[in-house]
Symmetry: C2
Subunit: 417 residues, 2 copies
């Protein structure tokens, strides 16, 4: 009934490790052991023992204090280490594959995108190509002294708890068992790959980058997905399939969609529709420039067909977004994917529809803005989700590395603090 049983020593140590690491991670300047003790209420001895473990696990490093005038030697400061564990972000999308490595401080240490239409290839072939990108990324991480702690794969589709892709209509995937296929690829070694919907991973990245409490992250690609954050948490739905904004009806008797329905938002605001109605059906990104940047460049030059297409897309997106806001009273719409660099041209149309269609718009304002992580929020969000898991539960990482290196860890009452 009442939670009055004592917390176990082991879980107390786990808790305190995370607590200390959080102080280091959130402090704008390097922070001293004494400051951590002061903030957390832990004893200095406990903090020192925990910090020792975090340093040994390459999660935290010591920095020399800045020289200053006056008496007394200032204490060494602590900050997150950029040479320990890192997260591998992977993405399969309709017209590209991508991989990136993000270290514990959040810095991107490797980034690679391969543009090619994935629709003609069977899933096994797509995932084999992705595994090559992953191997390259792991190598690049190792060359920089980093260890890949885990990977997350973003896919534009409906993903079950255990990583089965139920349906990715724009890729043409149905019931693709991604974990099983990846397990058969020796190149990935024993890196665990979590699979999730790309808009969900992007929304999680956005949540941690912007600290907004309630928003819808809209991922504009060939398909349109959404990640819905309510009260500071990603809302996944009753069966984990929330966020299918691209299949919300905007014209009940409208254009047929790949999903079998009519008038889905995707048919009015998806990337291929925008390019087709702009008279630019063959436009693609290059290795030097993303598709999204190319669109933004042409819009910036005043390409009349593209501006008209963006107006049409922004209007349809605004109708759907207004529905979301009428339903959920969300105060922020985040534009991601190709919508992020095109936000300057889309926003005015989205905002107009919201103003005209949302019952509360007059006194409960809504912000429409581009993603804080830019057009690659899903990829960065995927890598970031691995890093955040370590930051939230460092004990698990310490146990793993101790096993790998044969290094003993303090695990007794000494550091249970």
């Amino acid at each position: 009934m009442v939670a009055d049983t004592p917390v176990r020593q082991a879980s107390l140590r786990e808790h305190n490790l995370a607590l200390v690491l959080r102080q280091v991670a959130t402090s704008p300047q390097p922070i001293s052991r004494a400051s951590i003790a002061g903030i957390t209420g832990l004893t200095r001895a406990t903090v020192s023992a925990l910090v020792e473990d975090l340093i040994a696990g390459k999660l935290v490093c010591e920095v020399e204090p800045a020289r200053r005038a006056g008496a007394g030697r200032p204490a060494n400061g602590l900050r997150l280490a950029g040479y320990g564990p890192a997260g591998l972000g992977l993405e399969v999308n309709v017209d590209y594959l991508a991989a990136c490595v993000v270290d514990l401080t959040g810095e991107v240490r490797h980034h690679r995108v391969c543009r090619a239409d994935q629709r003609p290839c069977p899933p096994e072939q797509v995932l084999a190509a992705l595994a090559e990108l992953a191997t390259e990324a792991t190598g690049a991480a190792a060359a920089q002294g980093l260890t890949i702690a885990g990977a997350a794969l973003a896919v534009p589709g409906l993903v079950t708890d255990r990583g089965l892709v139920r349906l990715a209509p724009n890729l043409g995937w149905r019931d693709v068992d991604v974990p099983e296929i990846l397990a058969g690829m020796p190149t990935l070694g024993d890196i665990r790959v979590g699979v999730d919907n790309e808009a969900n991973l992007a929304a999680l990245g956005e949540l941690h980058a912007s600290h907004a409490a309630s928003f819808i992250y809209v991922s504009g690609e060939i398909g349109i997905g959404a990640g819905i954050v309510l009260d500071g948490r990603l809302f996944r739905g009753a069966r984990g399939f929330s966020g299918e904004l691209g299949h919300v009806t905007v014209h009940p008797a409208g254009l047929p969609c790949r999903c079998g329905a009519r008038g889905c938002l995707e048919q009015y605001a998806g990337q291929e529709t925008i390019l087709r109605s702009a008279g630019l059906p063959g436009l693609s990104g290059t290795d030097g420039q993303t598709m999204a940047d190319r669109i933004a460049e042409l819009a910036g030059e005043g390409h009349p067909g593209l501006l008209a297409a963006l107006e049409e897309a922004g209007t349809a997106l605004g109708v759907a977004a207004a529905g979301v806001i009428n339903l959920l009273d969300i105060d922020t719409v985040v534009l991601g994917g190709i919508y992020a660099p095109a936000a300057a041209w889309l926003r005015v149309h989205v905002e107009r529809e919201i103003r005209e269609r949302v019952l509360t718009a007059e006194w409960a304002p809504v912000t429409v803005r581009p993603s804080a992580l830019g057009p690659e929020a899903a990829l960065l969000g995927a890598a970031g989700s691995v890093v955040r898991a370590i930051r939230d539960a460092p004990a698990r990482w310490l146990t793993t590395t101790a096993r790998l290196t044969g290094r003993p860890t303090s695990n007794g009452p000494r550091s249970a603090g």
Copy 2:
């Protein structure tokens, strides 16, 4: 950091009172003190002391055990008392005012609906008429030995935390300070009246009647509202204005709505639209029969205009509901208000649109069903919300009644459990 401080004695007693009352409320048969002790882990002495307080506060009563063969006198059983505190439910809607009294067991002990178009009257006049219904209900409760513990008022509009009605477009209300107006009406005495959106109160009632974890409750009246329950909790939105399903766009360039937008669901599936397109614009309820029952009766007789109108309404409702499910992956749509008795005719159209438009419909089925509380879910949900507040926190009620009657309560370590 870690929740290891001892729980205060007073709050422990509050917790244990609620715990004991919950065992009584959820037991299908009268339950003995010994059984409560066994389930909760509290000592028999503690349970007895707590039960004594609950009996004194008229929350629980003792019932004689059923005679049975064999040795030993069976223990007295406990069940919720039907002669103590009760909840007053009030409702202002576009074409009726209503009041009801629900006792602690959930039984409706008084129910009164006055049908009249409220739109011509200023809010003060509407609320004065409502206060008369409340006085009548309070009298009826007193005549049955019940004490009104509080009231909740359902309104078809956007309500702030403190009960200000920001906007009720179909009533024509804007910034109506209901608590202030009611405070000026001596007939209500010192009964505290909470104000909430009618669909939210209905959804809360539905949540407790059906125990569904994730659903959208759709309230079909002259306006259309929704209460959204996610993971077992009512989701109110960032500013408390969620659930405006009636203003979700179903035809972007469609019919103008009272709210100023075009193509809102309300214009295709609202009560007045249904009656007008059925060729029954003057239809109304009588004192013996509700409007909802009248519609169901005519549909049951096969009225061709009405059947066509219900098809049109059900289709529009299905388009909007499909959008909700694509976004939130909710597994249940509950039809309330006039939709509840008309569910037999609406459901097939709603289900068809969901089947055709929801990406996951094939393997993640959605149930469309009438409200468990029938067309008056908002009124019953309002009264029920008062009763549930007592059941969740009985200590507050016991303190209030002790103050009113001058009766002492046990509040020391004796019953702190």
